[in-house]
Subunit: 409 residues, 2 copies
């Protein structure tokens, strides 16, 4: 595994981009310098819960940063938390979260890994299961581990503080999870641990436990912010329906990316690509001066993402398809999308329902004026019935600039 | 092992005498009735920390109550907490409490057991070591155990509450001790656990864990009060020098017991003997009516204690000796005792030092009046030099009623 030719300073600058917590710069530079000098990759820990399902772009923010480490030649310790998962909810009180069997964990882990390796470089990744060492700890080891942390410090974790204040019960074993996770770092001798901002406390426990167990160098802790979803306001989440799944079709990925705001587009560049700080600054300048059109920058972003998740050929095909439908046919980049159930409906009524026309009478006049298109075909029949079939999409133009897309479900 | 003929109600009445917590009467009666009916002894758990040194009477209050259970035919689970002791102070921060080696624990346990069996009936005692089961728990078992208790409930233990409020650090492993101790009750399926009042919280954890682990019947919890020392005010403790060690000589035990107040004597009856509630009531009545002299009751108490710790023959000998010296020679029961270093001193000066005389002149006049005795021998020489030899005791009488005992060290 060859290390990058990027200098430690250059690596640091890139790695700091877009991060929320970076603990800390000085130690990180020291580690990068030592790695550079000794030609020895750093060990970057990333822990995953094998109960997790499909990923969306929001989940890949951390992975993307880790990928940057790999691009500099460092090694990822991809940790499957099967020990914790096998315990499930040990109190047995929560019926909705039963312990997973070893088989289920393995299936989940394989599916999770498949998705993760859309972003990470598998050749620079070492997959490990924490049951290998946590499962072997004796009761004495466990007491020794729990002696390394105080109750008060554990209660400083935001969610624990809140629940304790609200008299909402915290089981003692919940205190064990950060300790187990921290002990993973001790065992793995990790140089860096990455996670979301909500993981900061747990990641710091790992750093402190490494010290408590006598390791001379402790892991740096890097957290990444939450990615805003397509609306540019809420965090990307399935429940807000503002997400791009990593299994979305190339066409959807392209379309969704083209529709994000210019501001959000820059944010995605920062958090989802490996743009350098210098390149990002130049992009901003070019957009400001008009040297580059935002649409062009979005096309590049969309192609980068599709290449990552579907390969370069699909990315090019998606661009071509997009150009054919939207650019060449003169469609705008952003068309409001509406979901409809399958069935049959009069076009006039549909247009009114979608807000394209104020009334069926207005729709009638527009059709008479040859100003209505259904899927880029002029409509001449005022009484046209439209059949909505599940899985299909329709694009309706009413007048010069009013468009609507109907997704049939 | 034969069970007593005492009825469950009679047993209950006796067992409740002198207790602080008795959780709870109804369940206890149920257990006693079942045991009586099935002719199956109850299992009485008593946990000991093998770091403990010599016992005094204060430590035997709990043992005495346990002995009452044995006298009713029940079985004692004498638990040596070697698992906890082997861990020592796992944080390694407290240098004054190093982990004990298995060998040290064994030595301590043997010495402790030797003392315990001065009170307990060895034939009705099963000695067990909790490393046998706690040492075999896996990390998963341990997490499962810790899931049974909440942080808030653990912080309700008085000392934890206090330390948490004072921002004095509580290591997480300290929360594990009550859980381990409680798990012992789960493993042993104990019917009753006994301890001092300071153990109430931990004993209740055992009761709750038995329930959490699905045992249909949970242990009753009995705590005993602290025993007041010879002064009748402070708790009996080496640091207050108001104790009777169980290795004190018969002579000392006799002497110390004769010197306690009448009130304290009744308290000792209650907490250190197996007097029945009816007998105790009668004793109080007889003392009040003058039917019985307190000295007589104290002699009986002293003989009971000496019999327990040294055997019946020694008890009788101690009484005879006491009678010879004190009663027959007309010495009072209580003589103020003073400690002096070995050396030589004039008797006049010694008497003044002890406060027997206001001045050496007064002492001189008393000797001239033949009113001074040294060890029951009239003193005639005003200039007598007394040689104080380490280990010896002197009794001086000055005038008709003033006595002092000098213990030379």
């Amino acid at each position: 595994m060859s290390l990058t030719t990027a200098t430690p300073k250059e690596q640091l600058e890139q790695l700091q981009l877009g991060t929320t917590d970076f603990i800390n710069e000085k130690e990180m530079l020291g580690k990068l310098e030592k790695s550079y000098k000794d030609k020895k990759p750093l060990l970057i820990k990333f822990g995953a819960d094998p109960t997790r399902s499909d990923l969306h772009l929001g989940h890949t923010v951390v992975l993307n940063k880790i990928r940057q480490f790999q691009d500099f030649g460092h090694t990822v310790q991809f940790l499957i938390g099967d020990f914790t998962a096998m315990i499930g909810d040990p109190s047995g009180r929560n019926q909705t979260r039963p312990p997973l069997s070893a088989e289920e964990i393995k299936v989940n882990a394989v599916s999770y890994a498949e998705q993760v390796f859309k972003v990470l470089d598998e050749s620079k990744t070492k997959t490990v299961y924490n049951s290998e060492w946590l499962g072997k700890l004796s009761s004495t080891d466990f007491i020794r581990l729990s002696a390394q942390y105080t109750v008060a410090r554990m209660l400083e974790r935001d969610d624990f503080t809140k629940r304790y204040k609200e008299n909402s019960p915290i089981s003692l074993h919940e205190f064990m999870y950060p300790l187990c996770q921290g002990y993973d770092s001790v065992h793995l001798k990790s140089d860096v641990e990455m996670g979301g901002t909500d993981q900061k406390f747990n990641l710091l426990v790992g750093r402190e436990l490494q010290k408590a167990y006598g390791q001379t160098s402790q892991q740096c802790v890097i957290t990444m912010p939450l990615l805003e979803g397509l609306d540019g306001v809420q965090k990307m989440s399935k429940s807000y329906d503002n997400y791009v799944s990593i299994v979305d079709t190339p066409k959807d990925m392209f379309g969704k990316t083209m529709r994000v705001s210019d501001t959000l587009m820059l944010r995605w560049y920062e958090l989802l690509t490996s743009v350098t700080p210098a390149d990002l600054a130049k992009l901003k300048e070019d957009l400001k001066s008009g040297q580059k059109h935002p649409r062009e920058a979005k096309v590049e972003l969309a192609k980068f993402l599709i290449t990552r998740f579907h390969g370069a050929a699909k990315a090019q095909a998606a661009e071509d398809e997009f150009n054919r439908i939207f650019v060449e046919k003169g469609l705008p980049d952003e068309i409001p999308t509406f979901h409809k159930a399958a069935g049959e409906i009069g076009l006039l009524q549909l247009m009114t329902d979608l807000g394209l026309t104020a009334s069926n009478g207005e729709g009638k006049r527009l059709i008479q004026g040859r100003a209505v298109e259904l899927n880029q075909q002029k409509v001449e029949n005022e009484q046209l019935k439209v059949t909505l079939k599940a899985g299909e999409e329709l694009i309706i133009r009413a007048g010069k600039k009013k468009y609507a897309k109907v997704v049939v479900s």
